[in-house]
């Protein structure tokens, strides 16, 4: 197991590169139908969104319900800029170059909003922060909706130049790769370690000298930046951008991806994002009429079921029993001999037990985050 540690952290990249190559080849051979191209575009956008939200929810441990707001900023600013640049024929009309500029500008615009929302966020925690981010998302939407129609389309959608659908998904995959590499690098650096420590215990992190303010702001900014990039990519995948798209329901949908992926697991978020997009399109075709709502119900049930299953203190024993590790152990021939009571490790039993720990109704359970395991020492 330990031997694989080195290459294991690159599995996500490998899979992404494989996907990019396979789909590029298929695309250039005109083997991908229209609907698949669309799904690939949506999937790449969703992946960037999920990976960036995962940074806030899974690693910083704060709940953001305004992620769609950052995306909205990116989509409108980046989209508008691309209209202006395309019309003025800047950069010799080089579409790719214009897109690159728009991506960066849209990302930065969103990042600035990330700083703005990060500032109050520093003073607030948990539920309060969740409601503030939700409010922020709605405010942003309202501002873009009420901006002059000539600028951002007003109540009607703002028209954007749609990028060639035969190649946008390749750009999308490259952007996902860049996003994931940068986010993973961040998490696996000393800075990422500091952020995870804030998640696990803010008080201890402060006492250990971690500048909590700085890191919270940093994470919000970084996450908003990538959400902005996803927004620009989104505006390039549409002929028009409508502020209605970015309501809190959409933020929740991104959150569902992060939760499904196992909070604090970037690879998982990517898979969950793809799964949600593919399932969404599939169900949109399959479920018609009144049944269409079943899709929403399914998401809701999966969300509740998964969270309750993963976090319910009462289910801890059951979770242990059916964990993959345990199943594997049961499958393998070498069943470890049953541990007798007198051999049990008594040093694991705390000798001083606080009376309120025993009686408390809130017995501390394991946190919902995926514990770090990817970075076992390489030796």
């Amino acid at each position: 197991m330990m031997k694989n540690a080195k290459w294991k952290q690159y599995v996500t990249y490998l899979v992404l590169i494989c996907c990019t190559v396979v789909f590029t080849v298929l695309g250039s051979m005109k083997q991908l139908p229209f609907s698949t191209l669309l799904q690939l575009e949506s999937a790449t956008i969703a992946m960037i969104l999920a990976a960036s939200l995962c940074l806030v929810v899974g690693f910083l441990g704060e709940l953001s319900l305004g992620h769609a707001g950052f995306m909205c900023v990116g989509a409108f600013i980046g989209g508008k800029l691309s209209v202006i640049l395309t019309d003025s024929g800047a950069y010799g009309g080089n579409e790719l170059l214009i897109m690159l500029v728009c991506l960066v500008v849209g990302g930065i615009a969103a990042a600035i909003c990330g700083v703005i929302i990060g500032l109050p966020a520093l003073r607030l925690r948990g539920d309060y922060l969740a409601i503030v981010t939700l409010a922020f998302g709605e405010i942003v939407r309202s501002l873009f909706r009420n901006a002059p129609a000539e600028m951002f389309g007003g109540t009607l959608a703002m028209s954007t130049p749609r990028y060639d659908r035969n190649s946008l998904f390749i750009i999308g995959f490259i952007l996902v790769l860049i996003t994931v590499v940068i986010i993973q690098n961040f998490i696996r650096s000393k800075h990422g370690r500091a952020v995870t420590s804030i998640r696990d215990s803010e008080i201890a992190a402060r006492a250990t000298g971690i500048n909590v303010t700085k890191y919270k702001l940093m994470v919000f900014t970084l996450s908003a930046f990538f959400a902005g990039i996803a927004g620009v990519l989104f505006s390039y995948s549409q002929f028009s951008v409508d502020s209605k798209k970015f309501d809190y329901n959409y933020s929740i949908q991104i959150l569902v991806m992060v939760v499904l992926g196992g909070m604090g697991n970037i690879g998982g978020s990517l898979i969950a994002a793809t799964a949600v997009v593919v399932l969404d399109t599939f169900l949109q075709k399959q479920l018609t009429g009144n049944l269409a709502v079943l899709k929403d119900m399914l998401y809701a049930l999966v969300l509740i079921g998964l969270i309750v299953y993963r976090n319910a203190p009462a289910l801890a024993g059951f979770r242990e029993k059916v964990s993959i590790k345990n199943l594997m152990r049961n499958l393998s021939k070498h069943n470890p001999a049953k541990i007798h009571d007198d051999e049990a490790k008594w040093d694991r039993v705390p000798t001083k037990i606080h009376i309120d720990e025993v009686l408390s109704v809130d017995v501390q359970s394991k946190s919902p985050y995926t514990p770090d395991k990817q970075w076992k020492e390489e030796e």
Binding site: S189, D200, A207, G209, D347, T370
Partner: protein
């Protein structure tokens, strides 16, 4: 030669609402001293810790580290200046491995400085710093005897080892003053003995002054040079360990009557 004063507390006091949790606390800790803060439950010991580490802002008085006034500074600043602590109810980074817990402690050391940009793009310095940090973390873990456990998750450690890990993490911040809040709580006698040895080693090896809160009198009397005994937020006795513990006031507070 007189040893230098590391921590000096002057008239420190705090009140929550009307309750005066701590008042008029004066004490002085000399370099490389092992200083004990004892007292019955609710005496205000942890509150003192919380004040000198910046969790609470004192209502009156001030405290100085090596002559520098740190009163009212933020927790981070105080840690950077050189006061590190552990917690009574353990607060580890549970979902992180043991070694990474310690590496968080090393985060602010100037020799491991590494900019955000360097980390995001994994420039060579990132790898160098990571390697050095890991090496240093291993050394610290070796001192507290947790080297073998370094790749386990912190939450999977037994209770006693979790306490040791907290000490290791605090040590990693390279403190001048190490504050240990009930380090032996929840340990069996054998572990307590081990811990006493570790604390002595730490003092020698890391050149650190140690302030500790403890209930276990055997532990305190076996380890500390000087004591302050608190009761209901006020000082009952202060001075050499033996003398302080034999003070009639102290005995009354502990045994009652």
């Amino acid at each position: 030669m007189m040893a230098q004063t590391v921590l000096k507390i002057e008239n420190l006091g705090i009140s929550f609402g009307g309750l005066k949790a701590v008042q008029d606390l004066n004490l002085e800790i000399k370099e490389k001293q092992l200083y004990g803060l004892v007292g019955p439950n609710g005496a205000g010991k942890t509150t003192v810790f919380n004040m000198i580490t910046g969790v609470y802002k004192p209502t009156t008085g001030s405290f100085y580290l090596n002559g520098e006034n740190l009163t009212g500074k933020s927790q981070e600043t105080i840690n950077h200046k050189g006061i590190a602590r552990t917690f009574q109810n353990i607060r580890l980074f549970n979902n992180m491995t043991v070694i990474r817990n310690v590496m968080v402690g090393l985060h602010n050391q100037p020799e491991y400085k590494c900019g955000l940009f360097t980390s995001l793009f994994r420039l060579p310095r990132h790898f160098k710093v990571e390697k050095e940090m890991r090496q240093r973390a291993k050394e610290i873990l070796d001192v507290v005897g947790l080297l073998e456990e370094r790749n386990n998750l912190a939450c999977n450690l037994p209770y006693g080892k979790q306490r040791k890990l907290e000490i290791a993490r605090a040590l990693a911040t390279n403190p001048k003053l190490l504050c240990l809040d009930e380090p032996a709580a929840g340990m069996n006698p054998q572990e307590t003995q081990e811990l006493m040895d570790i604390i002595r080693t730490i003092r020698e090896q890391f050149n650190v002054t140690i302030l500790l809160i403890e209930h276990d009198m055997k532990f305190v009397s076996g380890l500390c040079d000087e004591l302050t005994v608190l009761n209901f937020g006020t000082v009952l006795a202060q001075g050499e360990t033996k003398a302080a513990l034999q003070d009639p006031e102290v005995i009354r507070a502990y045994i009652g009557g």
